[in-house]
């Protein structure tokens, strides 16, 4: 795990019985550390987003969400899913299109690390500038090569939100929905509340499903954001 990971996330992982090796939070040091561990332990790498089984697994949440909304009598016409490396978005978009081709599928991305929005607009994989970061620390990865064509095929648009919009949306979810989410999870809510392009969509979305992923947040750090 990168040394910058919130302690609440490290504690949770350790609590599930993992052996944690820390590395510096650069992509190079992360990849080098994984190589070293694999060489010494003969472990198999499961990439966190650029992996077909991860994509398929993440897609199952969308099947559950759509089924629950349908059984509540308010079937979804629109979904919003956060995008970083793109595994969650790829899986959710395949699942949503498979269940109902008329569903509008949108992604939410921090403007500060908007490689996916730029890739989508130009039909070419893009990189975030070295050192680019966001309060939504779970979404700073560049879009994975495996996810890119899936997203081009199944996603209608990628909307971006500012850092302030992310924190405002996160605060609303904490205060009124009583759910502890991390900033990455608030990006979809921020799109629904604040993104002007989204809010001008025709026809206007009626029943919107937003994926809140995840809730690994250091409470002290989060509450500092609210000050």
């Amino acid at each position: 795990m990168p040394s910058s990971a919130p302690s609440v996330k490290k504690n949770a992982v350790a609590g599930y019985g993992a052996i944690i090796t820390e590395c510096r939070p650069t992509m190079k040091d992360r990849e080098d550390t994984v190589e070293t561990i694999m060489a010494s332990t003969h472990a198999t790498l499961i990439h966190p987003y650029n992996n077909s089984q991860i994509i398929a697994g993440q897609g199952t949440l969308m099947l559950e969400l759509l089924a629950q909304a349908r059984s509540s009598g308010r079937p979804l016409d629109t979904i919003i899913v956060p995008v970083g490396g793109g595994g969650l978005l790829a899986g959710c978009s395949i699942a949503a299109r498979g269940v109902d081709p008329s569903i509008r599928v949108f992604a939410a991305e921090p403007l500060a690390v908007d490689d996916a929005a730029r890739a989508f607009a130009s039909n070419t994989l893009m990189q975030n500038p070295a050192g680019a970061t966001s309060v939504a620390d779970g979404l700073t990865a560049n879009l994975g090569a495996l996810n890119f064509p899936i997203i081009m095929d199944n996603v209608d648009s990628i909307f971006t939100v500012t850092e302030t919009q992310i924190v405002d949306a996160m605060r609303l979810v904490w205060e009124r929905m009583k759910i502890v989410i991390e900033p990455s999870a608030a990006t979809g809510v921020a799109v629904a509340l604040f993104n002007e392009e989204f809010r001008r969509l025709e026809p206007a979305p009626r029943n919107i499903g937003i994926v809140l992923s995840g809730g690994n947040v250091d409470l002290i750090r989060a509450l500092e954001l609210f000050k």
Copy 2:
């Protein structure tokens, strides 16, 4: 509303369309202010806990909780409900006993305002000392006269927890269950985790239902508790 109420609670109440009159946070000023408003508006008082309809209404949550646990295949053998004025506890205890007389019904109370535990032990209504307070600000009221005999009849025991235990339990619920609860809601969790009498019960509780009421917490104030 008392001027000491968290701003998040005031904002939520205002957001539902209420006209808010503030008073000082003493019981006398609260009661005097209510009398003044009733005289000038001919409004009807609905007491927040010493009222049979409030008791009945709060009891419906226990019906839902028991039904959900049963349908999930893990019927509850034990419930823990926070106690302040006692309306929630009275309603929940009647409901639980009515559904299943074998359920063990426990209350959770902050040690710092333990009038209900003392009343239960002595079979006599008690008062908290003037100025007694707790981080669980929703539980500082004295037990209501209407609730007292119901609780004597239907509750097995009232367990107390310290201020530190309440904050530790609250933090666990925020971090691992991802639910924003106020300190009052954490008292039941604190009993289950930390109260020695509860933890030595024979036979040991298996499926425990804990009422988390409520979630009106000022985020900045909560942060100060966690530091």
